[in-house]
Symmetry: C2
Subunit: 602 residues, 2 copies
Amino acid sequence: MSVEEELNASVAYTPLQRMRHSAAHVMAEAVQELFPNARFAIGPAIEDGFYYDMELPRPLTPEDLPVIEERMRASIAANHPFMQSRWKREKALKYFRDHDQPYKVEIIENLADAEVGIFEQGPFLDLCRGPHVESTGKIGPVKLMRVAGAYWRGDEKRQMLQRIYGTAWFTQQDLDEYLERLEEAKKRDHRKLGKDLELFMISEDVGAGLPLWLPRGATVRRLLEEYILDLERKHGYQHVYTPNLAKLDLYKTSGHWEHYHDSMYPPMEMESGEELVLRPMNCPHHIQVYRHKMRSYRELPVSIAELGTMYRLERSGELSGLSRVRAMTLNDAHIFCTPEQMLPEFKKAVRMIERIYQDMGFKQYSYRLSLRDPNDKEKFIDNEQMWQQSEAALRQALKELDVPYYESIGDAAFYGPKLDVQVANVLGKDETISTVQIDFTLPERFDLEYIGEDGQPHRPVMVHRGGISTLERFMAFLIENFAGAFPLWLAPVQAVVIPISDEKHGDYAETVAERLREAGLRVEVDNRHERMNAKVRDAQLQKIPYMLVVGDKEAAADSVAVRLRSNENLGAVLVADFIRQALQIAAERSQELWPASESQPA
Amino acid sequence: MSVEEELNASVAYTPLQRMRHSAAHVMAEAVQELFPNARFAIGPAIEDGFYYDMELPRPLTPEDLPVIEERMRASIAANHPFMQSRWKREKALKYFRDHDQPYKVEIIENLADAEVGIFEQGPFLDLCRGPHVESTGKIGPVKLMRVAGAYWRGDEKRQMLQRIYGTAWFTQQDLDEYLERLEEAKKRDHRKLGKDLELFMISEDVGAGLPLWLPRGATVRRLLEEYILDLERKHGYQHVYTPNLAKLDLYKTSGHWEHYHDSMYPPMEMESGEELVLRPMNCPHHIQVYRHKMRSYRELPVSIAELGTMYRLERSGELSGLSRVRAMTLNDAHIFCTPEQMLPEFKKAVRMIERIYQDMGFKQYSYRLSLRDPNDKEKFIDNEQMWQQSEAALRQALKELDVPYYESIGDAAFYGPKLDVQVANVLGKDETISTVQIDFTLPERFDLEYIGEDGQPHRPVMVHRGGISTLERFMAFLIENFAGAFPLWLAPVQAVVIPISDEKHGDYAETVAERLREAGLRVEVDNRHERMNAKVRDAQLQKIPYMLVVGDKEAAADSVAVRLRSNENLGAVLVADFIRQALQIAAERSQELWPASESQPA
């Protein structure tokens, strides 16, 4: 969003946003009192709060925030009215020049208007369209969160400013709940848990946005892969393996080079002069598989699926753990079908996605119809008829599915609109996990055909479909969803056997572990020279579902003392019973670790 | 090999090679008779035959070959002696200039010697070091095979010449057997079978050397992946997933950029100025995983494994099907261990490879100790002590393994010597399938450490190990080894159910297929409107292990009439019995499709 867009956006503020925008002005007022030479840039309301960018004589420290907050509370207590006026452009320019506010001057210079809006509260005057609350007393409880660096206009070549993030709510309870949610999110942050649980790593030597899956994370990924490949096989998908790169010309044909160029890696020039490029999407490769032979209507639909690795040049500032990366493996599929099969295939794809969510235990999800922005001819293919045709098809499919959905402008693929399935994360926010698209564009561009019942060539339709999104994004989602405590079937280590005494019970521990392994469970023995309680605590920190403590009594009875990661103690269970129970829970993909009726506090 | 090297190599010819080299001269003599203006380049003996490169006034056609052969036989019948002489350099230069033989002139100009060798038989005189047979009459039966294009000195910027390939043997029987082997190899050629059986494709639009695995080939690959991952898991390997690219600097640290640069893709320059490059090997990534935390001697050995995709810039002329490609996925592993663990780990890796061969049914394999070429300081790291140390370690390991082996100079990795395990293909030729290496170099370059029992940091040793080589190369090998008729456990489609009449028996066929599928078998129903015999023939061409024919009798008896792809007819078998038998054969990874005692001709 440009500075000018941001200023315009403020016009549409909700009451809460309006109040937060006012809080941003009050924060600027407090900063100006502390640093009379502060130069201010912009200070909008954002999701969950507000910020203000400014140039200050020294870098702020966390200790500065309570001081600024204190002064804000004084201004709020003073209940200064927000007074609006309209100034002639020249007057405003002169005022901000005289007050050494070059960012405000630059904003005005970029505005075409003859007059600009000014807001004033107490001692602070700002260039602003508003709207604002009546007076500072209407601002609810505020809290300043952190200081970050931000380039003026987001441009790395311009001045680095300091940005203070704050939040404001109507009631203290709202604020407290928000801070609690943040705490919870921090604990569940997949970047933190990914490190603590040794699921993945980022290596400075390998590169930003290129995570390495450590053995435990790789185990979860392999289980997810096996799950999804098996499900797709049962649904008639045919899996392929295709290379992660291709000639640049392939993406000129597909339209990626024209519409998706900014996200693509630089092409590599080969000695023969041809250019190869890492693929930004898998569709063109699957199209090659479709047309490696002439297809008959009898074969259709042909569903080509792959765990396909793709490469996207996310900006380095936007990279984050597993959720924003530069190389990702998508659970991708392309269904090539007749126009008559299009709607049934679309619906089957949605039903399969619902099945996945059921297996994963996702209860809250919603449907988003992602449409093009008709004004953006660069990002979206310019073919009015195609867009109308495919939007109509999607709306028809949604009607037949009879599911509620909302629309989102500008989120379509460049080649057509799509249905995004949004799953609510633990903080109640929606993330796109799955997507189903109807595509008339690529079959046309690649001149795809099938021989119809009439013996004549016809154009197939493509349904693009992502089931569990990329394994990277899905893993990030799962880690946060489960706070690292994976359900049994996905847990990288399912049980740890803990001998009470290494010398006396070490052998029995190994025997138990071996039996569990033979039954197909993922088991470790903790034979470190540590106290038993320390081992139990470590296993709990590692979120290992079961701790199986073994001593004399258990060795004599062929049993294990079962403790859950929740610290619940189930007491002694025969090894054979434990194996049977654990296998059943894993097979059911249950989120529970033990049947409720059988769990007895020890 | 340069032209000069090729000329030198001729000195070491075996008797068979010497005779073939003489046949090349006789072929040139025959060509000169047909085209008096022919310009000759070089004509060495090669494996299984010989060739001669020449510039001719018109392109040769296959019809020219018998004509040339006829004249060769006349020369052989004439029994011209091969007469050797030494000419002064200037005399030779003048002679070949006068006779318009610019390639010979260029060769002499590049030789430092004051005298050059000349051989003459009948009307033909050539620049040549020999050796040759006494006279043309000593040349055995010859056959010219084909004509191909070849650049002078292998340089794409120089003259394109015509190369005639021929073969010659001591006896007619040897020649006939060789031609038969060639026929057999042609039938088994994985490129041909890969197309016929729809296992993989090469797409001009994607790029040379970048095969796409079609659904049936992908099924075999997935089965191989599952097999090897499972085996490795049982052997204590920890699997990871790591990105296919990294910062160029990583390969400067590792030494790849210095010693392996020619095989690497061009680096990609990112907007931040850093360079990323597709990885030529997986070792540096696994090293990152090893050192993501401090390791204790108690954890060692740490075995990091991955189906790791790598990229190598093979020359376009050398690309071939799945066996020479530009992107490949290696069944790779790196074992980080203490010096004391090195030999035991090395031996364990070799034992596991032997286990793989047993499971795959490979009976003939041999061990090759691949050493550096001490004169090639560019290709191999220059560290005398390291090479001596690691060669000594490898020899010690081989001694302890007590296996016979032979040595090969120049086939080491740039960072150290290796043991290659060579499996004999159906033509009796050896291919490298597995490799185990001891590496002191990379631990040093990456400054790897572990904390020893003494609390001090120590340097671990790395054992590099490839089990089934790359999936591409292994698949090519398997296709040719089995002539496309995969053993049951690997067959992409294990059985096809064929209703005698589509209308009457189609439902029963579907029921049978569904029962087999539920049992875990890969089954198709052939419900095309074709005659039964045509369907059986097609299934045999597709090398599908079982054809299950069903009609009234089978439907009434809950059975199937089982026919093997060998066309052997087993008669009616109860569906339940068939399932039990097939599952057992698959579980045993048997190469047979039915127990011999139970197979009865119908």
